[in-house]
């Protein structure tokens, strides 16, 4: 099976736009959470700074910014007929509900045009697993042989539409969320954009380290350190076949997705599993069940929504990028907001940073509609 590598990343987050800035923020427990006035109920969120922005669509702006950064790092020609674009978002430009511009197809078309992508884009809108499903879609497109590179972008902006919706479901906490904690009481919403460029060729063929394309260093004696080649080994999406908004009590879909990606892989190989961890009572409990059923009860677990909040369409990509960078740094990131085990059976989650020398991890997510997804990442050359 063709290997698929991540050869470029782009981030737009409330705690920074460079992977090193973002990683430092997570390690320091620094977030951009604040209480905001709602319509009329207030809500606690991690939002991007719109100060000075005057364009027609902030969503379009951040998606383009993240995608452009990833394309630049990858050093690819986006206009090639062998380059595809996959966009992940739940509500896109929903604030434009009264116009044609609300359409996800329109958003994808403008993003493709702005990037210079000539092939027809596809939007993955699979609830909160969209980012992960979009990466899997990118992997499949490369494995089909029709593409050399796929730009996968995930983005979400918060709005009255989304916030009031989650408020009506009583799913939000007015306090910083507490993944897996005994006192967890709901999620916080977040905004971000994140992008990866996937390739059938590892990065070392294209460039030597972050932001330095190969053609800048023709003389190999001055070559900077090789960056790690992260491979997306495989992924799976599975439905609980149970309820459209409540997670399965047996963690059926999550367990089945884990089982698929871990076939032939030992739990000992994993540095960690980065989970969904929304801090709702039901989600975290469901994930604990699924992780235990899959034999992952001793593998370090972490969740990032205590820093970024729930970034919906961006989550799968944002959380995967941060996980890759953390693993590069030999670190299992702390689960900010966790203090006391609140799921049964227990999982190996910690509020403290841990060290690791392992070179693979699983990204796990769940979403409305009963969907669950898992992706296995492994550093190239690790096996």
């Amino acid at each position: 099976m063709t290997k698929v590598y991540c050869i470029g990343c782009g981030l737009v987050t409330p705690v920074g736009n460079s992977p090193s800035e973002v990683l430092s923020a997570v390690r320091a427990g620094k977030s951009a959470f604040r209480l905001y006035d709602g319509w009329p109920e207030p809500y606690y969120a991690s939002l991007l700074d719109r100060k000075g922005f005057e364009g027609p669509s902030f969503f379009d702006h951040i998606a383009l910014q993240a995608a452009s950064a990833a394309v630049q790092e990858a050093g690819i020609d986006a206009s090639s007929s062998r380059v595809g674009l996959v966009l992940s978002t739940i509500k896109g430009n929903i604030e434009k509900i009264d116009s044609e511009d609300v359409s996800l197809a329109v958003v994808a078309e403008s993003l493709a045009k702005a990037l210079g992508v000539k092939t027809a884009p596809v939007v993955v809108s699979n609830a909160c697993i969209s980012g992960l499903a979009a990466l899997l879609q990118g992997v499949r497109m490369i494995r089909s042989g029709a593409y050399d590179h796929i730009i996968v972008v995930g983005a979400e902006v918060q709005s009255r539409f989304i916030v009031t919706g989650f408020q009506s479901l009583k799913a939000l906490s007015l306090n910083p969320c507490k993944p897996f904690d005994a006192n967890r009481e709901g999620l916080n919403v977040g905004e971000a954009a994140a992008a990866m460029v996937l390739s059938a060729q590892p990065a070392s063929e294209n460039y030597f380290s972050e932001g330095f394309p190969k053609n800048q260093f023709p003389d190999t004696s001055t070559k900077p350190t090789l960056i790690s080649n992260w491979e997306i080994v495989d992924g799976a999406v599975r439905n609980d076949a149970n309820h459209i908004s409540g997670p399965s009590r047996t963690g059926e879909g999550s367990y089945n997705a884990l089982r698929y990606v871990l076939e032939g892989v030992s739990a000992e190989e994993l540095a960690f599993v980065n989970v969904h961890g929304t801090a709702t009572r039901y989600n975290d409990q469901m994930e604990a069940i699924a992780l235990n059923r899959a034999g992952l009860q001793d593998v370090p677990i972490n969740a990032l929504k205590g820093i970024f909040g729930h970034t919906m369409g961006a989550a799968g990509i944002l959380e995967s990028i941060v996980s890759m960078k953390a693993c590069d740094a030999g670190v299992v990131l702390p689960t900010h907001g966790f203090s006391q085990m609140g799921v049964e059976p227990a999982v190996n989650v910690s509020a403290l940073e841990r060290k690791t020398d392992k070179k693979a991890f699983v990204k796990l997510l769940s979403g409305f509609g009963g969907v669950n997804g898992a992706l296995l990442f492994r550093k190239g050359g690790a096996r």
Partner: protein
């Protein structure tokens, strides 16, 4: 490969009474979900063991308009009392979930938005979905639902062997 469709503007309640009749949750669904649900019934109603849990069938729903018709209903309710029952359907993939729940299909379920009804692209993506080793068949649907009374639908039940 079986194929079905529901003509634009058809009475979904009548189709429900004809094909189903014993699933009251149907009436909570938005139009997009009702359409996907009914198209699936039309395709698998006489399949043996149809309610036995299986992981080998994917549900792949494609559209251009997504769930915009229901988004507008939710946005209306948002003006005074946001409705949770409407909000849960403001996702293009809930239709895939409703199909999975009814039929006990624990395999892949997805929703994709394409610029237009492009059969070549749809089949290319269905073929890509079969890269999942478990997937042996797929419920594929194009459901474009710009409003509750206007929709374009086409649905197929396809086996892996049909893709060769």
């Amino acid at each position: 490969m079986k194929q079905v469709s529901i003509p634009s503007g058809a009475s979904l309640t009548e189709l429900y009474r004809k094909w189903v009749g014993d699933y009251p949750k149907f009436f909570k669904m938005d139009t997009l979900s009702k359409l996907g649900f009914l198209l699936t019934e039309m395709l698998v109603h006489d399949e043996p063991d149809r309610f036995t849990f299986r992981e080998d069938r994917a549900v792949l729903v494609f559209s251009r308009e997504g769930c915009v018709a229901n988004d507008r209903h939710y946005a209306e309710s948002m003006k005074d009392f946001p409705s949770p029952a409407l909000f849960v359907y403001t996702l293009p993939n809930i239709v895939s979930g409703e199909i999975a729940i009814r039929n006990k299909w624990g395999g892949e379920s997805s929703a994709y938005v394409l610029e237009s009804y492009d059969e070549a692209r749809i089949w290319e993506m269905v073929r890509q979905a079969f890269q999942d080793k478990c997937t042996q068949s797929a419920l594929v649907a194009w459901i474009d639902c710009p409003s509750d009374n206007e929709f374009i639908t086409n649905a197929w039940l396809v086996n892996k062997t049909d893709m060769l």
